[in-house]
């Protein structure tokens, strides 16, 4: 069981051991990087198939079913198509910026994956400030969106990148602050430390995941909303909005550059889902002690696939928000809730010594109430319809 759990770690050690000592560091880095790129790119291929198939079933269609069994080879066909398509650059576009944009969009998304622990002893780099690294890469990605929108010299592209950047900036704050809750509780910015802090089981059965605390549950839900917005997924897909601005900043891209944007977007989705798993759902830990025999990496990727399924489900279910609704939700609901959550985790921290009978329960209820009451008030405030002036149609009537 332990051999299976550490299979890939020992594989890498064996592989690195084949080389002379002077080369071992370089080979080790290369193997980790290659593993990340390979595994997540494979997952990307499967995800595109899953998404098309899942969305199709949600909309009562069949989805891809021509290439291979169940259309499973569709990603391959898509890849070949993207590679052999003509690469078109608009005549008046800023050639250099236009060409660099897809690269700037993809690279940080892949880099962000490097700090996420995918199993026991399985993390490419364990930075002491891993979480800061993750969010820094998210910031660099925005430059890519801007470059794509600007470099294409197309009004729709520009509109799309404006929307994209505005949305990313607005939701970055709730995203970071909701993740900060875990840092306050654990006392470390290293993602490996955060996973290790969630080891062990309540009453020998239920895992000690952060999501089972009131601040963890609140933080998890807020984080997921902000993560959906950060990765431009429905219902926050205004920057792409096919029916309004035709894929926004990606409009003028064809062939493999377009595929790169797609890759970057899905990599970002994997990265942010992986971070949610790491912060709130115990990383590679099993949910129940009697399931701990399943290898740790299987737990991580299993959870990741569940997240992807959730995102596909959301995309098939929810309509798109309007731009003003988006901003209102970010600043009038998300930010105050996240701040309240910070107070809740502080309360949780200071009541850690309540070991008297029922103290644990009282602590739970107190923190939950501290979160729930502001939630009620804010939800009422946001859902109240503002007074609108009746729209007058001058010519349509």
């Amino acid at each position: 069981m332990n051999a299976l759990d550490q299979l890939f770690v020992s594989l890498k050690q064996w592989l690195v051991g084949l080389f002379p000592t002077s080369l071992q560091l370089g080979v080790s880095v290369f193997v980790s990087a290659a593993a990340i790129v390979g595994v997540y790119a494979g997952l990307f291929a499967i995800t595109t198939w899953l998404e098309r198939k899942g969305l199709a079933r949600l909309q009562n269609r069949m989805g891809p079913n021509r290439v291979g069994p169940f259309g499973l080879l569709q990603p391959m066909a898509d890849g070949i198509k993207a590679l052999i398509k003509e690469d078109i650059i608009p005549q008046r576009a800023d050639r250099l910026v236009h060409t660099l944009a897809p690269i700037v969009a993809v690279v940080p998304a892949i880099l962000a994956l490097a700090v996420i622990p995918v199993g026991q002893n399985m993390v490419a780099v364990d930075l002491a400030a891993g979480m800061v690294f993750f969010f820094a890469m998210g910031g660099v990605k925005e430059i890519g969106v801007f470059m794509a929108g600007w470099g294409s010299r197309n009004t729709y592209s520009l509109l799309g990148s404006m929307r994209g950047i505005a949305q990313m900036i607005s939701y970055e704050m709730p995203l970071v602050l909701s993740a900060l809750v875990v840092v306050m509780a654990v006392g470390s910015l290293s993602l490996v430390d955060i996973v290790n802090a969630q080891a062990g089981y309540h009453a020998g059965i239920l895992a000690r995941w952060n999501v089972f605390t009131p601040w963890g549950l609140g933080g998890f839900l807020l984080f997921m909303v902000a993560a959906t917005a950060e990765s431009n997924r429905t219902p926050f897909d205004l920057p792409e909005g096919e029916s309004e601005i035709i894929a926004g900043h990606m409009l003028e891209y064809s062939g493999f550059k377009y595929a790169l944007f797609f890759l970057g977007e899905y990599m970002g989705l994997f990265a942010v889902s992986g971070l949610a798993i790491t912060l709130f759902l115990g990383g590679w830990h099993a949910p129940f002690s009697f399931l701990a025999w399943i290898p740790s990496w299987m737990w991580f990727f299993g959870k990741l696939v569940c997240f992807i399924a959730l995102f596909i489900w959301l995309r098939g279910t929810l309509p798109r928000l309007r731009a003003d609704q988006l901003m209102e939700f970010a600043y009038k609901f998300m930010v105050p809730m996240v701040l309240v959550n910070l107070v809740a985790v502080a309360l949780w921290h200071f009541t850690a010594g309540w070991t008297f009978l029922g103290g644990g329960l009282l602590r739970w209820v107190l923190c939950a109430a501290l979160l729930f009451l502001p939630f009620l008030g804010l939800a009422r405030l946001v859902s109240k319809r503002p007074h609108r002036i009746q729209r007058v149609y001058r010519f349509a009537e």
């Binding site: 910026v97 930075l127 002491a128 910031g139 660099v140 430059i143 505005a166 900036i169 007058v392």
Partner: protein, 169 residues
Amino acid sequence: MGFVFPLIATLTVLGAVGAMSFRKSIHAALSLVVALLGIAVTYLGLGAEFIALVQVLVYVGAVAILVVFVMQLTRSEGGQGEGMAVRPAALGVGTAGLVCGGLISCVVLLPDFRTPWPEKADVGLARLGEALTGDYVVALEGIGLLLTVAIIGAVLIALKRPNKEETPE
């Protein structure tokens, strides 16, 4: 790894020069991003991992984004600047020279700077946190207050005047 610093330093300087000399303001802004990233890598080389990452997070993720966002909002055609007039250029070079000279003379002359420092500075996360919430807590709170005032000011400016909202959208 001796080749890393010269490489990064060259890139950073080229980025900074580009930021000042590109004709299109958007190219200048993107060139500035290169310079800022180069500085972050230099911090990394000095062992200040956290500061390097915060540099990327704040300067690239926020300041540079703010710059290009403002450009997008204000100009639609990529602003063909006329290059720099002589007086501002002279002023800029003068200021840069003053700052640079001041720093160098500090390093050379002041006794504090002459004490030999360790190979790798201890700028770990815990140490930084202790310094910020211990010795420099007043400064930290002061900056926090300043930023809050700035946010409130921005909201006040952006606030709609209700009496002017008569015409339908």
